[in-house]
Amino acid sequence: MSTPTRHYLDFERPVAEIESKLDELAKLSASHEPGVFDAEIEALRGRAERFRRDVYGRLDPWQKTQVARHPDRPHLGDYLRGLVEDFVELRGDRVFGDDQAVVGGLGRFRGTAVAVLGHEKGRDTETRLKHNFGMARPEGYRKAVRLMDLAERFGLPVLTFVDTAGAYPGVGAEERGQGEAIARSTERGLTLGTPMITTITGEGGSGGALALAGANKVLILEHSIYSVISPEAGSSILFRDRAQAAHMARSMKITAQDLIGLKIVDCIIAEPTGGAHADPAAAIAAVGDVIEDELKALSMLTAEGLRQQRAERFYAIGRSFG
């Protein structure tokens, strides 16, 4: 059922039109004999579905960027609710403050005790401000380091969820050592003696994403992106103009499908027709299933084996086709 808050992307406009017709029909049918419009409604639903399947079957990199940033796409909070029981949020970096752009804590994932953390973008004005649109400051990365330290001491696997445009570029962030904070967080993941699995659920923006992605396995949703710089920022640097963002999205090979060929990600998680936002529950469950399998496989490895697997994984990137 359509709701007034539903967001349509540009290329979804035909779907939007069909669905607004469906809404009208639904209203009309309320004042008519039951079943009068059933055939028509059914036909329209079929058309909308076919259209979605078609459009989402051949999204270009720039369209995928829009989907990855879709405001209704499941966020960290949704994954926590859907996949983690007994979640206990742990706050603060014990140095300066608590950065809600990174949310994390302890919990149980399908029975296994884990530490879980990730970027949260927020969904409305209030929560977006609270979470700083998912753009972390040093405190966010230092909290991540703290949680990974804790996980290692208690033998907990670490699950991270990446969804950020990038680290926050601000005076305070620089003053408190943004670069160092990111570097330490990346390092902590890479040196962890427990399994670490990263899922890129939306936008994997630059160093701010990598800071939570120094993992044994990096999973990515079908329409997510992972990039060294946002297409817009890349465009403004290389073209002195943000208008070439679509070109940059294509050239920088930022889609899940590009990245798996480069071995930067290990596994693509299929999304429901119309993207994760079309059926969040199904998307979240699919993510959970893959994490469960990967976690099972990684739990066979010793601490040293895990570190070695991670080192080999990252060292191999770029070498295998050289």
Binding site: A173, E180, A183, L190, I237, I264, G318
Partner: protein, 311 residues
């Protein structure tokens, strides 16, 4: 990520330092039409006897600048490339060059305003180097050490696959020789033309540092102007000791990006070496002339401690 555009030649001694690149002063053009040549190259010819201080605008006699290690009378540390850096850093300027392994070029077939291979060949022609990282092994104030130098004149020092492999090779060389690693960083950030493959170098170089840590070999970073973006968010900030040359721009986000975000002009001295020292990210700001001695002290003390512990 900040702007990795290489500096204008006038800012960069690489184009004026004769020890760094072949002289091409007597080409065919100067023979047939000397006037034309001086017209084209008037401002930044390699033969220019005078160099402008980027800070004060003062004109400095190049021989004097050379003698002053490319530090202007006002104290401005001009950017220098690997050749001069090795010469200044290693005792008597003597060192062995270590070649970094080759990488697959243009892995993405990247085109912006120019195809990436064209940018690469232009940078190679201008610097005489294959890519931005050079590696040397020699004595730093009597302590054997590996030095890795990033050349800002080569595509803004940008961290791509070649630089990543270069850093890894430098770390491996340090392990083989049982010697410390000193990294002289200079970069606008990651090399966008290699997409996420460049991002991965932040993780790969971080792993190389772990190998040094495991072997208890010192890893010292010397931050030079400018060090920003992905380099700052990886190996530039993971040293056992961080030294910086005076006045170097050091940060994660470039000043332009921050100004666009906060819509304010940034305070004087923001993201400079001294500012980073005041904020706890840099141990010491050291003049270029004193660097070898200071590095030597740090390296020899750490190595002495290490070898005593091992004994």
């Amino acid at each position: 990520m900040s702007d990795p555009t290489p500096p204008k030649p006038a800012d960069d001694p690489r184009t004026t330092a004769p020890s760094e690149r072949p002289r091409r002063g007597s080409g065919w053009l100067s023979k047939i039409a000397p006037g034309v040549r001086s017209l084209v190259q008037r401002k930044d010819t390699p033969d220019n006897l005078w160099v402008k201080c980027p800070e004060t605008g003062e004109m400095i006699y190049r021989a004097d600048l050379d003698a002053a290690m490319w530090v202007t009378p006002s104290g401005h540390h001009m950017r220098i490339g690997p050749g001069l850096r090795f010469q200044y850093t290693f005792d008597a300027g003597r060192y062995d060059s270590v070649t970094a392994p080759g990488v697959r070029e243009d892995p993405l077939g990247f085109v912006d305003q120019k195809p990436y291979p064209e940018r690469l060949s232009a940078a190679r022609k201008a610097t005489g180097a294959r890519d931005t990282v050079a590696i040397g092994f020699g004595d730093i104030h009597r302590t054997p050490a590996v030095a890795m130098v990033q050349d800002f004149a080569f595509m803004g020092g940008s961290l791509g696959m070649a630089a990543g492999e270069g850093f890894i090779k430098a770390a491996e060389t340090a392990l083989e020789r049982d010697a410390p690693l000193v990294a002289f960083t200079a970069a606008g950030g990651a090399r966008m033309q290699e997409g996420a493959l460049s991002l991965m170098q932040m993780a790969r170089t971080t792993l190389a540092i772990q190998q040094l840590k495991a072997a208890r070999l010192p890893y010292v970073v010397v931050l030079t102007d400018p060090t920003t973006g992905g380099v700052t968010a990886s190996y530039a900030m993971l040293g056992d000791v961080h030294l910086a040359e005076p006045g170097a721009l050091i940060g994660f986000a470039g000043p332009r990006v921050i100004e666009q975000t906060i819509r304010e002009t940034l305070p004087e001295g923001f993201q400079r070496s001294e500012y980073l020292m005041d904020h706890g990210m840099v141990d010491q700001v050291v003049n270029r002339r004193e660097l070898p001695q200071r590095l030597g002290a740090v390296l020899s003390i750490l190595m002495q401690g290490r070898n005593r512990k091992a004994a």
